[in-house]
C-alpha cells in the first residue's frame, strides 16, 4: 500500500462508497432519528420537535414490556448459544483430526443456506401440537396431552439458538484455532491439569471469539422480526414486533421511529461494552 500524497485522490477512491453510504444509510438513518421527534396528530404529522414519543414509550407499559421481553429473549439466546456452541467448537478445533474439521464446519453452517423464513416455519412444524416433538413425547408416554410448544417464548428461543449457535461456533472455532498448541502444552508442562489449562489459558484466550459471537447474536437477534413473529406467535410482543405494529396497524411512523432509535441506542451500547472487552485481551 502506498501513501496517498494528494488528499484529492483519496476522496476520488472512497467517493463512490461514501455517496452510496450517504444516500442509502446515513440519510434514512437521519430521517428515522428526525421522525422520532415528530408527532402524529390524527392522519398528519406535526414536525415541531418534541420528546412526546419517548415520553409515551416510557409511560406505557406495553412498550417497556416489549423492551424487557426482547432483552430477556435475546440474552437467553446469547447465553444458550454460547453454551451449545463452545463445546462444539472446542471439540472441532482440538479433538477432531484436521482433515475432518472443514467438512464438519460445512455441515455446521448448512442451516445458513436455507431461507430464514423457511427455517422458522420448519421449526413451527416440529414444535406444533401435532408436530414431531409432541408426537415423539406422546408415543414414548412422556406426556398424554400434546403440549403447546409453538407460539411460545421457548419456540422463539429455539429458533434463534438453532441459527446463532452456528454463528457463535464459527467465531469461537476461529479463536480457538488461533491459540498455538504450545500454550496448552506449556501449561500442562508447568503442572496444570486439563480443567486448569482450560480455565486459565484456553478460555481467556478464546474470549475474543465468544465476545464477537455474542455481539453478533445480540445485534442480529434483537432486531429480528421474523422469528418471534412466526414462532413466538403473538403471545408476547418483542420490540421489533412493536415497531411493525406501529407502522402497519397504527401508521404511527414517529412512534415507530422512536422505538427504532431506542433499539439503535441499545445496540450501540452493547457494541461499546464488547469492544472494551476485546481490547482487554492484551494481545
Amino acid at each position: 500500500m502506498t501513501q496517498n500524497k494528494t488528499p484529492r485522490k483519496g476522496w476520488i477512491l472512497t467517493g463512490p462508497a461514501l455517496i452510496w453510504t450517504s444516500i442509502f444509510f446515513l440519510a434514512p438513518m437521519g430521517m428515522v432519528i428526525a421522525y422520532s421527534f415528530f408527532r402524529r396528530v390524527g392522519g398528519s404529522i406535526d414536525t415541531s420537535p418534541s420528546l412526546y414519543n419517548y415520553q409515551r414509550i416510557f409511560d406505557e407499559p406495553v412498550f417497556l414490556d416489549a423492551l424487557k421481553n426482547s432483552l430477556e429473549v435475546v440474552l437467553i439466546t446469547v447465553v444458550v448459544s454460547i453454551l451449545v456452541a463452545y463445546p462444539f467448537a472446542y471439540i472441532l478445533a482440538y479433538r477432531v483430526p484436521p482433515k475432518w474439521q472443514r467438512p464438519l464446519l460445512l455441515l455446521a453452517v448448512l442451516p445458513f443456506w436455507t431461507s430464514y423464513v423457511v427455517r422458522s416455519y420448519s421449526w413451527l412444524l416440529v414444535l406444533a401440537k401435532n408436530g414431531v416433538v409432541n408426537g415423539m413425547m406422546q408415543t414414548t408416554g412422556l406426556i398424554s396431552e400434546p403440549v403447546s410448544l409453538a407460539n411460545t417464548r421457548l419456540a422463539t428461543v429455539i429458533g434463534f439458538v438453532h441459527f446463532f449457535t452456528m454463528l457463535v461456533s464459527l467465531t469461537i472455532y476461529a479463536s480457538l484455532t488461533q491459540i498455538p498448541d504450545s500454550y496448552r502444552k506449556a501449561a500442562r508442562d508447568l503442572g496444570a491439569s486439563s480443567p486448569m489449562t482450560f480455565l486459565r489459558i484456553t478460555l481467556p484466550l478464546s474470549m475474543p471469539g465468544v465476545v464477537v459471537g455474542a455481539f453478533l447474536t445480540f445485534v442480529l437477534a434483537i432486531g429480528d422480526f421474523i422469528t418471534p413473529q412466526i414462532l413466538g406467535g403473538g403471545q408476547e410482543l418483542l420490540l421489533p414486533q412493536a415497531i411493525m405494529l406501529q407502522v402497519q396497524r397504527r401508521g404511527d411512523f414517529p412512534l415507530a421511529a422512536a422505538l427504532s432509535v431506542i433499539l439503535l441506542v441499545i445496540v450501540i451500547a452493547v457494541y461499546g461494552v464488547s469492544a472494551k472487552r476485546l481490547t482487554l485481551d492484551g494481545k
Binding site: P180, S182, K185, A186, D189, L190, G191, S193, R200, G282
Partner: protein, 357 residues
C-alpha cells in the same frame, strides 16, 4: 542449590507409520550436565525432546529420571520442564503471572511465590519486569522470561527446544553465555536441541549428533570436533576435507592408507583392503612442508580473507582442499604452495559406515 537428575534413554524408537523418526536411541546423561542434541532438520531431535517432555509417547523404549521410569508419566507429573521454541508465553498474563504460573499450579502462592518469581527473573537478568506485558517484550526478553518460567518450578531436567533459534546472531551468542552460566549456577540437567553446531560447541558438556533418527556420535565438543567418529559428524560439525583411500597394512596402532596423494600412515584401525576416508580440518593443513605428512604441491584456486586467517581453495592433483592459512603473507591466485599435515590431525573414518570408532 538444585541438583539435576540423571537421565537415561533406553532404546527409544518412534515410528510414524512406516517411517522411523527415532531408531533405538540410547543415551545416558550424568546429573547436572549440559547435553546438546545436534542434528539437521528431520534428524529426529525435536521428536526426542518431545518424548523426553512427555508430549509424544515413544513406540518402544524407556525414559528414566534418576532410575525412575517416567515413560508413561504425563507432562503434568514429569520432573521435566520444556522451554518451547516459540517460548509459548501466555499473552494474556503479565511477566510475573507467566513465571508464577507453574508455582500456582503446584499450590505455591502468596509471598513464597512472589519471592521465587523475583529470584527467577533476577537469575535471567530481568529484575523488576514482573508487571510488564508479554507483548511489550523484545525477543531476547521473551526468551529469558520463558527460561525463568521453566526454572522457577525447579525441574530436575530442563528441556530446551531450539531456544535461541528466533534470536539474531549477536543476541544468540550473548544468550549462549548466559544459558551456560545459568545452568552452572542451578546445577539442573539441561538437554538442549539445536541445529547450530557453533551453539552446540560453546554450550555443551556432551554433544549428541543425531542423524536420521540415530545417534551418530556423542562426546565432549573437543573430542567430537578433533576426532569425529563418522563422516557425517566430521562434515556436519565444522568443515572437513575428506580424502578417499584404501586401508593397507597396520603397523602398531597405525594404518597405512593409500590415497590419490600417496600413502599415509595414520592412527586408527581398519582391515586391509577396506575403503576408508581421511578427514582433515582446514586449520590443520599447513602451507609448508614441516608437517609429518606431505600431501603435495598445489595451486591456489581462490582465497578469502577472513581476518584471523585466509581461507584458500588449493588444487592438488585432481582434488580440491580447503585450508586456513595464516593471515600473512597473502596468497595469490595461481600461486604454487606445498601442503602438509601432522599425522595426529588426520582422522581415519570407515567409509560410508556409521559405526562408532
Amino acid at each position: 542449590m538444585i541438583r539435576g537428575a540423571k537421565l537415561t534413554i533406553e532404546g527409544i524408537t518412534k515410528r510414524y507409520g512406516e517411517t522411523a523418526a527415532l531408531n533405538d536411541v540410547h543415551l545416558e546423561v550424568t546429573p547436572g550436565s549440559y547435553v546438546v542434541v545436534l542434528g539437521p532438520s528431520g534428524s529426529g531431535k525435536t521428536t526426542l525432546l518431545s518424548i523426553l517432555g512427555g508430549f509424544t509417547p515413544p513406540t518402544e523404549g524407556r525414559i528414566l529420571v534418576d532410575e525412575i521410569d517416567v515413560t508413561h508419566l504425563s507432562p503434568v507429573k514429569r520432573p521435566t520442564t520444556t522451554v518451547f521454541q516459540d517460548y509459548a508465553l501466555f499473552p494474556h498474563m503479565t511477566v510475573a503471572k507467566n513465571v508464577g504460573f507453574g508455582l500456582s499450579m503446584h499450590g505455591i502462592k502468596g509471598e513464597e511465590s512472589s519471592a521465587r518469581v523475583a529470584r527467577a527473573l533476577e537469575l535471567v537478568g530481568l529484575p523488576g519486569t514482573g508487571d510488564r506485558h508479554i507483548a511489550s517484550l523484545s525477543g531476547g526478553q521473551r526468551q529469558r522470561v520463558a527460561l525463568a518460567r521453566a526454572v522457577v518450578i525447579e525441574p530436575r531436567v530442563l528441556l530446551l527446544d531450539e531456544p535461541l533459534g528466533a534470536l539474531d546472531l549477536k543476541l544468540r551468542r550473548q544468550m549462549q553465555d548466559e544459558l551456560s552460566e545459568i545452568q552452572r549456577s542451578l546445577g539442573t540437567t539441561f538437554v538442549h536441541v539445536t541445529h547450530d553446531q557453533e551453539e552446540a560447541m560453546s554450550l555443551a558438556d556432551i554433544i549428541v549428533v543425531l542423524r536420521d533418527g540415530r545417534i551418530e556420535d556423542q562426546g565432549p565438543p573437543d573430542r567430537l570436533y578433533l576426532r569425529p567418529a563418522t563422516r557425517f559428524s566430521a562434515t556436519f560439525m565444522g568443515d572437513s576435507n575428506l580424502v578417499q583411500g584404501v586401508a593397507g597394512q597396520s603397523i602398531g596402532e597405525r594404518v597405512s592408507v593409500e590415497t590419490s596423494f600417496g600413502t599415509f600412515l595414520v592412527g586408527g584401525e581398519a582391515p586391509v583392503g577396506a575403503r576408508v576416508a581421511l578427514a582433515v580440518r582446514p586449520e590443520h593443513l599447513r602451507i609448508d612442508d614441516v608437517g609429518d605428512l606431505l600431501i603435495g604441491e598445489g595451486r591456489v584456486l581462490g582465497r578469502h580473507f577472513i581476518g584471523a586467517h585466509q581461507r584458500c581453495r588449493v588444487e592438488i592433483g585432481d582434488q580440491e582442499l580447503v585450508l586456513n592459512a595464516p593471515a600473512k603473507p597473502p596468497l595469490g591466485e595461481g600461486q604454487i604452495v606445498r601442503v602438509s599435515v601432522d599425522a595426529d590431525d588426520v582422522v581415519l573414518l570407515q567409509d560410508g559406515s556409521s559405526e562408532a570408532l
